[in-house]
C-alpha cells in the first residue's frame, strides 16, 4: 500500500527531553565495538579538548527518531513496519554531544516518494538543547520494501 502523501510537511516535536548520560554513551560505544577511551574515560576526552566523554557520530539515532516515531506508528500513514529497511542517514553537527545534554527533537516529514516497488520517506530532525541551542540535524530515509506494489 502506498504511503499517505498527506503526511509530507507534518512536524512532530518530542514531548520529553532526552538526557544524555555517560552510561548510555559507553553502552553505545560497546555495541558498535569501538574501544576508543574518549567514549569512556573523562580524562582521555579532556586530553582531546572536550569537557567530558563524547558521543560517537551516529549516537543521535538513539533519540532523534522518537518524535518521528509517532508518525511512523500512525495507521493513517499506512506503513508496514516489518517491511522497513533503512535507506539513507546523515548527521550534520553543530557541536559534539556530551553527557548532561538535555535534548529535544523536532521531526518533519520532508518527502514521500516511490522508487520502483518501494516507498521512500525522508524525515529531517532538528536537535536542540532544551534552552534552544542547536546541536545537530539528522536526515533519515526509510524504505518500505514492496510498499508501492
Amino acid at each position: 500500500m502506498a504511503l499517505n502523501r498527506d503526511f509530507v510537511g507534518r512536524t512532530y516535536k518530542s514531548t520529553t527531553s532526552y538526557e544524555v548520560s555517560r552510561v548510555k554513551i559507553k553502552e553505545f560505544a560497546a555495541a558498535i565495538g569501538d574501544n576508543n577511551p574518549i567514549y569512556r574515560d573523562r580524562a582521555a576526552a579532556q586530553a582531546a579538548g572536550h569537557p567530558d566523554v563524547v558521543a560517537p557520530p551516529t549516537f543521535p539515532i538513539v533519540f532523534s527518531l522518537q518524535s518521528g516515531g509517532e508518525a511512523l506508528a500512525d495507521p493513517e500513514l499506512g506503513l508496514n513496519y516489518a517491511m522497513v529497511v533503512h535507506g539513507e542517514q546523515r548527521f550534520e553537527y553543530v557541536r559534539p554531544i556530551y553527557p548532561g545534554d538535555e535534548l529535544v527533537t523536532s521531526s518533519t516529514i520532508t518527502e514521500i516518494r516511490s522508487a520502483g516497488r518501494n516507498e521512500l520517506m525522508t524525515i529531517r530532525s532538528d536537535v536542540t538543547t532544551v534552552a534552544g541551542e542547536p546541536v545537530c540535524t539528522t536526515y533519515n530515509t526509510i524504505v518500505e520494501r514492496g510498499g508501492a506494489g
Binding site: A30, I32, P56, A82, Y93
Partner: protein, 142 residues
C-alpha cells in the same frame, strides 16, 4: 578539538587503508539494546525469512557506525566529524555461526575545503557487496 591529522599533510586522492570490522549476532543484539531498534529482522532468523530476507541482516546504523569508527580512528577525535552521511546500498547478512560477517571499510580524501576541513569518501564492503554508497564525512583537521 584535537584532530591528530594536520590539514597541510593530507592530499586529495590520498587513500586511508582498509580495516576489517567483524559482525556477529551478539553485536546485533547489543546494538538493538543500545539503539532501541528492536526490529526482528536484525536478530530473529525465523522472522527475517518470513519477510523475504535471506537471513538476519545487520542494522544499517551498525554498518554506518563502523564507517564512523573508521573516520574517528583516523582523525583521532570524534568531535572533528562535522557531517556524516551514507546511503545503505546492500544488506549485511549475518549468519548464526562463529564467523558472522565482516564489514571492510576504506577511505579516500576526496576534497580539501576551507577552514582546514576535508571530505573523506568511504567504501564499505561485506563480501563482494558494497554495503554503503555515497558515504562521506566532512572532517575538521588541525
Amino acid at each position: 578539538m584535537a584532530a591528530t591529522v594536520k590539514y597541510d599533510e593530507v592530499e586529495v586522492g590520498q587513500e586511508l587503508p582498509a580495516t576489517d570490522y567483524p559482525v556477529r549476532r551478539l553485536n546485533l543484539v547489543m546494538y538493538a539494546g543500545a539503539s532501541g531498534d528492536f526490529n526482528q529482522i536484525h536478530w530473529n532468523e525465523r522472522f527475517a525469512k518470513t519477510v523475504g530476507l535471506p537471513d538476519v541482516i545487520a542494522h544499517g546504523m551498525f554498518t554506518m557506525a563502523q564507517g564512523g569508527r573508521f573516520v574517528t580512528d583516523w582523525v583521532g577525535d570524534p568531535g572533528a566529524v562535522l557531517d556524516y552521511g551514507v546511503r545503505f546500498s546492500s544488506m549485511v547478512i549475518v549468519p548464526d555461526d562463529d564467523q558472522g560477517a565482516t564489514i571492510t571499510v576504506s577511505g579516500v580524501i576526496e576534497e580539501k575545503l576551507e577552514d582546514k576541513r576535508v571530505v573523506v569518501g568511504l567504501i564499505a564492503k561485506s563480501g563482494d557487496a558494497h554495503v554503503l554508497s555515497k558515504a562521506r564525512a566532512v572532517v575538521q583537521l588541525s
